[in-house]
């Protein structure tokens, strides 16, 4: 069997916020074309892992290789230009920009991103609300905008931090459809989730995170047989 093409490789990643040591040697891999989730309880370091990959935590050590390029010493703008796009947990919609301005804000880093028309086909509501202030959108619309705006940049890999948090079930279902569509279009996705029922519908593999490191990896097809173990990990 051929070795999977690893797009992102994280090895022994440590991260600190001030004096606080948050990541204690995160190690995992994301193969190209897969949707991979980081599952875990609140405060175990999932968001910090995302922020460390993007280079926006104060101090980090270890290795993060993207396309074989070591990014640990790079500034976040250079990391983004390698082909990583980030959708933060708090969505990061800019209140001083309209929906359209928010949509086209991230620069095109390389060819191959979705054309704006296709992005609007996926999220038609954003076209209708184009001239509204970004933060006047509903929570679900803001989440869609946060995902939509990184699709046209040409990034191969999307980092989505809890995209379903606090959203109505119908919106969660729509975001699930979007993630599956994006996977079909060739995007590689690293997803942070607490909701493993949602994660199970979109992901190829799940890494379970506890105390700032990965403690287990469960392929999605083995999820049913590992459900008791997963529930213990997540405390549900």
């Amino acid at each position: 069997m051929a070795e999977p093409d690893i797009l992102l490789s994280v090895k022994d990643l440590h991260a600190h916020y001030g004096e606080s040591h948050v990541l204690h040697g995160m190690t995992f891999e994301v193969p190209r074309g897969e949707v991979v989730t980081l599952l875990g309880r609140n405060g175990v370091g999932k968001t910090t892992t995302m922020r460390s990959i993007m280079g926006i935590v104060g101090k980090r050590a270890g290795s993060v290789r993207y396309h074989g390029t070591e990014t640990i010493g790079l500034s976040s703008n250079r990391i983004a230009r390698l082909g990583l796009a980030y959708c933060p947990e708090e969505r990061g919609i800019f209140s001083s920009l309209t929906v359209k301005e928010n949509m086209v804000l991230p620069p095109i880093i390389k060819p191959g991103g979705l054309p704006l028309e296709e992005v609007y086909e996926l999220f038609p509501r954003l076209l209708e609300r184009g001239s509204s202030q970004g933060t006047k959108l509903s929570g679900g619309e803001q989440q869609m905008l946060a995902i939509a705006r990184i699709l046209r940049t040409g990034a191969d890999m999307l980092l989505l931090d809890e995209p379903t948090e606090g959203l109505a079930p119908v919106i969660v279902q729509h975001i699930g459809d979007i993630i599956r569509t994006l996977r079909q279009r060739g995007f590689t996705i690293l997803l942070v989730e607490q909701n493993f029922h949602f994660a199970a519908t979109v992901a190829d593999r799940h890494y379970v995170v506890e105390h700032g490191k990965v403690i287990d990896m469960i392929p999605n097809q083995a999820l049913t047989t590992n459900m008791d173990k997963l529930k213990t990990y997540l405390g549900v």
Binding site: M54, G55, I56, S75, S76, N77, I79, A80, R81, A85, Y86, P88, G92, F94, S95, S96, L97, E101, V104, L105, P106, P107, I109, I150, T153
Partner: protein
């Protein structure tokens, strides 16, 4: 003689024009301050000193290099912007994560140093700078006499202020700037080099001050104190307009210049304090300023 509210029209419009010219300088300086505060979170107390440097670079270029007014309008902002960017890269960039007070103290100290150096070199008395011959003379408008140079100052200032507003509110570069003002970390994570953008914004903000200095050179005397005389009023303008508000600083700059001019006509004793009285009233009613967020 025609009168309005008992005042001769020549006197009234003359003072209004003076107010408008002062307002033009208030607007240009407060616009630079608002830009810098918005993105760098720094209350740039050295802005007045850099405005004064703009005027002095024009004066020095004329007297030592033979460069006239028009080249000085380009050279002075470039020189002052280069110095400003050096200050930002070597000093200010260390203060962004600290309280505003540190930036204010550093830039206040820088203002004293810059002003002191020029006072040491050129004394406190002002140096004359002639109006360029293309803009000498004036027009009799019937109700008042309009010196051409003063009209040019108002027009040039309007073009600069509105051009800056347009660039910030209506262009992609401006969108980057507004977004970085809100969340620089995320903007950088999109692939934009925010530190370079901050340096260029500081350079542009102080270049505006330097252009104001060159425009002011033929109106006022070129003096080391010209910046410190003006900067307190300009800070009041920024506070009234709303800290960091671009349109607020432009509109408030011109309006307060006019208010000051009108006060000189009707109650001259209050002319030097009227702006501060307006500031107190605005802060009591709208603490975020007329155009500030939360106003």
């Amino acid at each position: 003689m025609m009168t309005i509210f008992g005042m001769p029209t020549q006197a009234l419009f003359g003072q209004l024009l003076l107010g408008l010219i002062n307002g033009a300088f208030y607007a240009m300086l407060s616009l630079g301050l608002a830009l810098i505060f918005g993105l760098l979170n720094i209350i740039n107390f050295s802005h007045g000193a850099l405005y004064m440097m703009g005027a002095f670079v024009a004066w020095l270029a004329l007297n030592f290099l033979g460069l006239g007014y028009w080249p000085a309008l380009i050279v002075a902002p470039l020189v002052v912007a280069a110095l400003g960017m050096l200050i930002e890269r070597t000093m200010l960039c260390r203060l962004y994560k600290l309280d505003h007070l540190y930036g204010l103290l550093l830039t206040f100290g820088l203002a004293l140093v810059i002003e002191g150096l020029f006072r040491e070199a050129y004394g406190v008395s002002g140096q004359p700078y002639s109006v360029p011959k293309e803009l000498a003379g004036g027009w009799n408008l019937g109700f008042m006499f309009l010196p051409i140079y003063r009209g040019w100052v108002v027009v040039a200032s309007l073009i600069l202020c509105l051009g800056t507003w347009f660039a910030i509110e209506k262009t992609k570069l401006g969108a980057y700037l507004r977004a970085a003002t809100e969340n620089p970390t995320l903007v950088q994570a999109f692939g934009i080099n925010v530190p370079v953008m901050i340096t260029l914004t500081y350079g542009f903000g102080v270049a505006l001050a330097a252009i104001a200095g060159v425009l002011a050179a033929p109106v006022y005397q070129v003096s080391p104190k010209m910046g410190s005389d003006l900067i307190i009023v300009v800070f009041a303008v920024v506070v009234i307009g709303g800290m960091g508000s671009i349109m607020g600083s432009i509109v408030t700059g011109y309006l307060l210049g006019l208010v000051e001019g009108l006060t000189k006509v009707f109650y001259p004793e209050a002319a030097s304090t009227v702006i501060f009285m307006v500031m107190v009233i605005v802060l009591l009613i709208k603490p975020a300023g007329l155009f500030g967020k939360g106003a």
